[in-house]
Structure formats: structure tokens, C-alpha cells
């Protein structure tokens, strides 16, 4: 189970208020049933089915901005929760052998299901102390270099790589720039495109721009159902184009950053289903779904010859983007 602090457990997203209201009614009826010794079971059953259908309906129709809120829910399982539930016999590896051990990216050897893997996972932190220790999941260059070091171990010892992505972005600070965060991410993109071992990436929460992509190049890219993946945060986009961060909901919608949108745009390959009402309602089930996706995908990739894997990976990334081909001499009025 995910460790959740009490503040997070009581946290209600604005659009979840009607759901919480029903939940409270059920709890009250159950309590008074015990106290008064009366039988409310049929009322409770009815409320429960109302609750489930409302939850289903709400989560089937989440707007982009509501999805962002779910992806950032304080009780949403973090990489460490998935490592705890899903990764057996986890041996953590520390440090980039150059500067420091960045806690925003955790690396290690692990067994997922029956598969031995190298695990690379972005960690946002649960409580205040952990959040500060890992800079809210915003990695410095040393995090990306540690990740590459771990991934190279995978290549050398024929272990596939699993990357769990969850970050607002790389850390925007003086030290980060001084130590070359752009170079660190660039090198990861280049090297991940040619590492001679299968790579499976899953965005488990926030996929924040280059900081996410820095561990996000692989053979199969998936997103959890209510994760999002974007070139800039909705607040950042809104501040620039709408001139105010308050238009983040509009920006989220416009940038098409949900799993469903990105699957339609061929940016991702798979969507990993979340439990009814989001991963924060049932972290164990979410971990189970994630594990099943990883194991199934790794088995698929294992059957493909290594040269073909590299070829397919290149072609996969080479196809990224949408352009128009104009016949003959191009002119400015063509679009």
C-alpha cells in the first residue's frame, strides 16, 4: 500500500466533491445502522451503486485540467510506492560517480514479476522532508548522469531497462545550469536511442517536458490513464500565451497532454488503466496494473532480436511529429 499522510487522505479535488458527499452519506448510514441497531442495508446498497456510477462517470469524462489535478493528487502513488509494491529484491544504486547522488531519480536493480531489470524512477517525495531532499522530483544534471550510468549497467549485463517518469521538469537553478543540465539530458536522449537493451518507459504522474524525456526514450512508451505529458506545464503555457497562469485549464486542454490525446497523436504506445476513480483510490491495484504492463511488454521485446529492437526504436522516434509535404516549390501561403 502507498504511504499517505493524513493531509493527503483528506484531500478532495474540486470536481470530486459530489463523490465525497455520497461517500460521507454511506459512512453516516453505516454508523447509525450500528448505533441504532436498524437495517439500512438496502439504502446503503443503493447509495453505493450511485457512488460507483458517479465515480465512473466523473472519471470517464475528466477534462485535461482535471486529469492534471489527478496526476498531481497528494495521495497519488509515487515511484517509491511502486518500487515497494512491484519491485522485488530492489538493490538501490547511488550516485553519478561525478558529483553527487541526486534523490530525484532513484536507480537500482530489481525483479518485476519474473523479469530482472534496471529500474530508473523519478521520485517527487511524499512528506516535506522528502520533498526537499529530492527537490520535489526535479532532477539536477547528476540525476540524469546517474540514470545513464545505471542504464549502461543494464546494457552491459543484458538487463532490460524500466523507466518510471514523474516530474514537473528538471531543476531550474544556478547549480543545475552550471553543471550542464542541458548537456546531461541531451546525452541521455542520444544514448538511450542506441542502448543495446530493451527500454520500457511509463509516465506514472507528471511528464514534465525535457526533464521527463531525459529518461523517456525507449522502445515502448506508456502512460498511466490519468497521467499527463507535456512540453511545458499548463501554468507555464498559460502565463506565456494567455498572459496569466490562471488560464492553465485552457492551456491544458489546448496542448493535448492526456494519455488518450497522446495515444491518438502516436506519441505514446500504450495506456495503463488505473483503478476506478484514479490510482490514489487504490494504489495496490494501480501497482498491479503497472506490473502487468511492464512484464507483458518486456516479454514481447525479449522475443525480438536485438538488432531489430534498435532498428524499430530508431524508426519509432524518427516518425515523431506531424508535417505537411508540399508539392514543388513551396510558397508562404501554403499551410
Amino acid at each position: 500500500m502507498a504511504k499517505t499522510n493524513s493531509a493527503a487522505e483528506g484531500y478532495v479535488l474540486p470536481f470530486e466533491k459530489p463523490i465525497m458527499h455520497l461517500q460521507r452519506q454511506i459512512a453516516e448510514l453505516e454508523a447509525s445502522q450500528v448505533q441504532a441497531g436498524r437495517d439500512y442495508s438496502s439504502e446503503i446498497r443503493q447509495l453505493r451503486s450511485q457512488f460507483v456510477s458517479l465515480l465512473k462517470k466523473t472519471y470517464q469524462n475528466l477534462s485535461a485540467w482535471e486529469t492534471v489535478q489527478v496526476a498531481r493528487h497528494p495521495a497519488r502513488p509515487l515511484a517509491s510506492d511502486y518500487i515497494e509494491t512491484m519491485a522485488k529484491n530492489f538493490v538501490e544504486l547511488h550516485g553519478d560517480r561525478r558529483y553527487a547522488d541526486d534523490k530525484a531519480i532513484r536507480c537500482g536493480l530489481a525483479r518485476v514479476g519474473t523479469e530482472k531489470v534496471v529500474l530508473v524512477a523519478q521520485q517527487k517525495g511524499r512528506d516535506t522532508r522528502e520533498k526537499i531532499a529530492c527537490n520535489f522530483g526535479c532532477a539536477h544534471p547528476e540525476g540524469y548522469r546517474k540514470a545513464l550510468r545505471a542504464m549502461r549497467l543494464g546494457e552491459k549485463f543484458h538487463l532490460p531497462i524500466v523507466c518510471l517518469i514523474d516530474t514537473q521538469g528538471a531543476y531550474p537553478g544556478i547549480g543545475s545550469e552550471e553543471r550542464g543540465v542541458a548537456e546531461a539530458i541531451a546525452v541521455n536522449l542520444m544514448e538511450m536511442s542506441r542502448l543495446r537493451t530493451p527500454i520500457v518507459c511509463v509516465v506514472i504522474g507528471e511528464g514534465g517536458s525535457g526533464g521527463a524525456l531525459g529518461i523517456g526514450v525507449g522502445d515502448r512508451i506508456a502512460m498511466l490513464e490519468y497521467a499527463f505529458y507535456s512540453v511545458i506545464s499548463p501554468e507555464g503555457c498559460a502565463a506565456i500565451l494567455w498572459r496569466t497562469g490562471e488560464k492553465a485549464p485552457e492551456a491544458a486542454q489546448a496542448m493535448k497532454m492526456t494519455a488518450r490525446d497522446l495515444k491518438a497523436l502516436d506519441v505514446i504506445d500504450d495506456i495503463v488503466p488505473e483503478p476506478l476513480g484514479g490510482a490514489h483510490r487504490n494504489p495496490a491495484e494501480s501497482a498491479h496494473n503497472l506490473e502487468r504492463h511492464i512484464v507483458r511488454t518486456l516479454r514481447e521485446l525479449k522475443r525480438i532480436d536485438p538488432e531489430a529492437i534498435l532498428k524499430h526504436r530508431y524508426e519509432r522516434w524518427r516518425r515523431m511529429g506531424k508535417v505537411i509535404r508540399v508539392e514543388g516549390s513551396p510558397s508562404a501561403d501554403q499551410a
Binding site: G173, A186, S209, G236, A254, M255, L265, R318, V326, A332
Partner: protein, 289 residues
Amino acid sequence: MTEMQSEPSSPYGSKAFEGPVFRKKRDVPDGLWMRCAGCEGMLYRKAVAENLMVCPECQCHFRMGAAERISQLTDPDTFEELFTDIAPADPLEFHWLGKSYADRLREEQAKTGNIEAIKTGVGFIKGRRVALGVMDGEFLMGSMGSVLGEKLSLLTEEAASQNLPLIVVCMSGGARMHEGALSLMQMAKTSAALARFDDAGGLYISVLADPTTGGTTASFAMLGDIIIAEPGALIGFAGQRVIANTIKAELPDGFQRAEFLLEHGFIDMIVHRKDLRSELARLIDYCGE
């Protein structure tokens, strides 16, 4: 150096993009005269153009369009533009404040006479044949969209198949938000193409002009076998506004400038624009072919 303040807050809060700008806007009005951002002197525009768009007084390197850069860099009439049939789409049907990306593209195309923010082709530099890509900072701030990624990847593959040195002049405000994650993915696409070129033994030189920022820096700009920067060029990943709001302090002088990167070990050299052709030729003679 402490980056974390006593009050812990996430670095990408909604205020991060809204704070003060610590960078002076470059003031280059149209007309016969222009003001130098470096020495603030009034300069005769024609004299600046004849001086490779460099201030004759303080050597400040001004920004310039792709066509101008190509004519400066290549031997006369040797540049053959390639991949001109690739034009931008509006894959997200992006709208904001009553504007649309499709309209915005048409405006930029009309304004600049270019179809996108990069020109690619083959040409000669001091008699040496090269594959050359030049970004255009005048087109939507040189932002990286699908066209840029596609043309740069095609150029890289062309360089590999013709066994040519690859030179890319970078100048970019970062990713193109209007193309969403498709824009972000161009970072990986171009890097994958460069990995293949690297495996094939190709020489890749990146030239970083003012400004080179965001996703461009964190991909092909920083992947050169040799990385050259122009004097004073702004080169970085995160925007200065975002950083200043995260650390809640003013940024040090010269932060993210070419000289700062040289000092911290992330570029090979800073080359004055008047020496760029000869420096590229010298490097090609050592490493290319």
C-alpha cells in the same frame, strides 16, 4: 550555494513564469539607425550589416535571420537548399485568445518569407563541402516544432549518406508550445538521428548563437563533437525568469552566457563571427573526411 530557500516550494509553481524579467530586451528599431544593446551607441545599420551584424564599436554580436547567416557562412552561390517541401501543420488545432496556430504560422511565413524556423541544405565553406542547417530566430522565436525536427533529421541522414561534415547553427527560444508534446519529441528524434551519424563516424559541429535555450540546448545543440559559441550568446536550459523565481534571487552577471559555459566546461570555444568560416574550415580539415 543554496538553491533551496527556507520556505519549501515547488520550482514549477504557477508564479514561476510570471515574475520579473532580468534580461534587457534588445532594442533594434527599424530604420537607418539602430541602437547597440552592448554599448548603447547609435549605429549606422548598413555599417553593421557590412560588419557581419557585429557592432563595430563593442563587438556585440547581433541576431540575424537564416538567409543572412547562410550567405555569410558559405562560399558565394554554393548553397543548395534541401527539404523545402516540408511545411508546418497544426496537429493540435491549437487555439488561444481567439487566435489560432494555423493563422500564426501564416503570419510568420508572410513576415519572414520563410516557411519555418530552419533552413537546411548543402554548400561549401572555404571550398569544403558541408551539410548545413541554420535556425531562424525570427520565425516564432526559432522555436522547435515538427518541421525543425524532420528537416534536421533528414539533413543528418543526408550528411551520413554523402559523408559530409554536419554543421548546425542553433538559435532558439525553445520548444513550440503550439505543437505540444510533438514539439518535445523532436528533441529525442534529432538526438537519435545524431546518434546514428555518430556511429557512422560523421563530424558534427554545433554553433550556438544568441539565444540557444530550452529543448534545443538539451538536445542537438549540446551534442556536437565540437561545440562553438558566439561571444555573449545566451545559452541555457531553463528560462532566467523561471530560475530567478525558483531561487528567489537575482541571477549573477553573465549567467548562461557563452563565456559562463566556456568557464564551466560545456563548450569548446568562443569564436568571433569574422573568424567563424576559417575556424570551421580548420576543424573540418582535422576531423572531417
